[in-house]
């Protein structure tokens, strides 16, 4: 009985869930621009983000992690599958409902220099989401603005300045204040610190953690930097060529990675301690094209633990390999 209840509690705990989500981009060619093929950027991905947690999404460039982030927020229309926000199926919701959902889901991009409108000053940038997504009056918006700049450690005299007058770290603070302005419950952070210096990165990561605690935020944290992912995430999903290879609690993933791709990724991270380099796994080649992905397991062309035909013919499913730990590899069938 009590077991039943915990399971129920867990299943309703998902703030955002994906069920076999696909996102294909059509390739059109020839004079008639006929639809000739698809780039399968996201190809059948299922996972959930639990309320209040930080889920890391990690993978190499072109693996589809940013596309997945944007599709989950419905900034891109999925080609297939279902997306649930707080239990509600948002795959085909109306434009009106989608606008309401924008208040709940916000995004921060990698390069604040190009994601912030250069013609707007800081005050306008931060209040814009409130003007377009809420019916708050001017006083309420102003109050919130002053609250926010204190929250992200900007000064009042910054408000009339343009974004290009700020350093990368301060621009990212502006982007965070802007995302936070409409009280979202979920923030998708797409490589939020990749363009920053390490000492600035540390400050932004600390700020994001403080805000998460204060506002009970849920983060989808997209990054290629495994050390950052390990530091900030509760759970981690590893993506390869449009599919999830492995999902696990962060400490488990870093201590006992199961998927050969995850293991190669981890061993590729440069270590401060140079003595450990001997057991490094170096993958051959680069990621194949998502236009024509390999058959079976998409990683089989680079896998160093290739078993045999099964890897080329059958696409492995995400199967449980331990507590809250799933992995898509025929080694664990």
């Amino acid at each position: 009985m009590s077991l039943q209840r915990t399971q129920d509690a867990e299943s309703t705990d998902a703030l955002l869930a994906a069920e076999e989500v696909q996102k294909y981009f059509p390739i059109r060619s020839g004079i008639l621009k006929r639809h000739t093929a698809d780039v399968k950027a996201v190809d059948g991905v299922s996972f959930e983000i639990r309320r209040g947690e930080t889920l890391g999404l990690v993978g190499e460039s072109g693996c589809g992690k940013s596309t997945l982030g944007k599709t989950m927020m419905r900034l891109l229309d999925p080609t297939g599958g279902r997306i649930y926000f707080d239990g509600e199926d948002i795959t085909d919701v109306s434009r009106k409902r989608l606008r309401q959902l924008r208040r709940d889901m916000q995004i921060i991009f990698q390069d604040p220099g190009s994601s912030l409108n250069p013609r707007m000053n800081v005050a306008d940038l931060i209040t814009e989401p409130m003007r377009s997504l809420t019916d708050w009056d001017k006083t309420k918006r102003q109050n919130r603005l002053y609250e926010l700049i204190e929250e992200v450690d900007l000064q009042e005299n910054h408000l009339t300045r343009a974004p290009h007058e700020f350093s990368g770290g301060q621009q990212q603070r502006i982007a965070i204040a802007r995302a936070l302005s409409v009280n979202p419950s979920l923030i998708v952070a797409d490589e939020p610190t990749s363009a920053l210096d390490v000492s600035v990165q540390a400050k932004i990561l600390n700020l994001m953690e403080d805000l998460q605690e204060k506002y009970n935020l849920t983060y989808l944290f997209i990054s290629h930097d495994l050390s950052v992912i390990k530091h900030i995430c509760d759970r981690v999903a590893v993506m390869y060529l449009g599919e999830l290879a492995e999902v696990a609690p962060a400490d488990r993933l870093f201590e006992t990675p199961k998927h050969p791709y995850t293991r190669a990724l981890l061993s590729g991270v440069p270590r401060a301690n140079a003595e450990r380099m001997d057991d490094r796994i170096i993958l051959d080649g680069s990621v194949p094209s998502p236009e024509d992905p390999p058959s079976g397991c998409r990683f089989h062309t680079r896998c160093q633990e290739y078993i045999g035909d099964v890897c080329e013919t059958s696409d492995p499913e995400l199967d449980a390999v331990g507590d809250g730990h799933v992995c898509a590899c025929h080694h664990y069938d």
Binding site: S61, D197, V198, N206, S227, H231, I232, L265, V269, I282
Partner: protein, 342 residues
Amino acid sequence: MTDPLLEIDDLHVHFHTEEGTVEALDGVSLTVERDEVVGVIGESGCGKSVTAFSTMGLLQSPPAEVVSGSIRYDGRELLDLSDDELDGIRGDDITMIYQDPMSSLNPVLTIGHQLTEPLLAHRDISKAAARQKAIEMLEACGLADAERLMDEYPDALSGGMRQRVVIAMALITEPKLLIADEPTTALDVTIQAQIMDLLRDLREEFEMSVLIISHDLAVISEIADRMAVMYAGNVVETCSMRELFEAPLHPYTRKLAESIPSLETSVQRLPTIEGTVPELIDPPTGCRFASRCPDYIGSECDEIDPQLAEPEGIRDHEVACHYYTDESDAEPPWQIQGVEDQ
């Protein structure tokens, strides 16, 4: 003992801009011995790329001006050379790899054309021989099907392959000194591992010295023998790779290393450095790190610029901080010891 291969001494470089004069390098001293890999680490704007560009004679002047100092390569003063004389050295004895492999290759010339160019410019060699050499170099850089690649254009290649071509191009004259400016920053982790592995092998094979510049301490630690830490136009510490991790002396180095998340250790909260890098137009007169220093001593830090020197009792480890100069009696709040003593 022979002379160092590259010896940069007290280099001052200014940029004249509309807002004022940016004192980008404030007396940078750095040496690269023969067959040594020196890593330069620091955050954006600290002057690490300016140091590299000065050495290659690639600073655009104006706005840049080399105010004083010297850059000696193999005993010759590079700053005194004419452009023609410099062209005999750069691209031949000293070559450079840049951060972005896409913009360092010419998109309208074939790989083969670009690879043979340095050879044809610097060597008395036939086109056929240059082509043969280029193919061998592409193969040494781990590119299969090199014959075919020679006739391809850069946009047919992936980022990792392009960076291999750039490396092949830099090595084709068998330089004595390779300057690598953030060679893997634009690449993915798995490709980064391939490229660092390649650089390590090639430098042993060709017995080159390497000056590698990066903001990523972990990347540099894979290849460097010795490190130079830069902050706001100064080298603040130089030491062996091991000492940097086990016994760093400068407060900035200590803080910088702490603020990087690591796979080995877990912290609840990342330590940060208060404040921001000072403006280099009208920079502070004393130590440029003084206003942010968690271990600030007193007025000597604000007034006197600490010089890079070996503290008493320590060998092969230089630091620019008043904890180790005669200006202050203060003892650093951490233990000073050579790594061997541990």
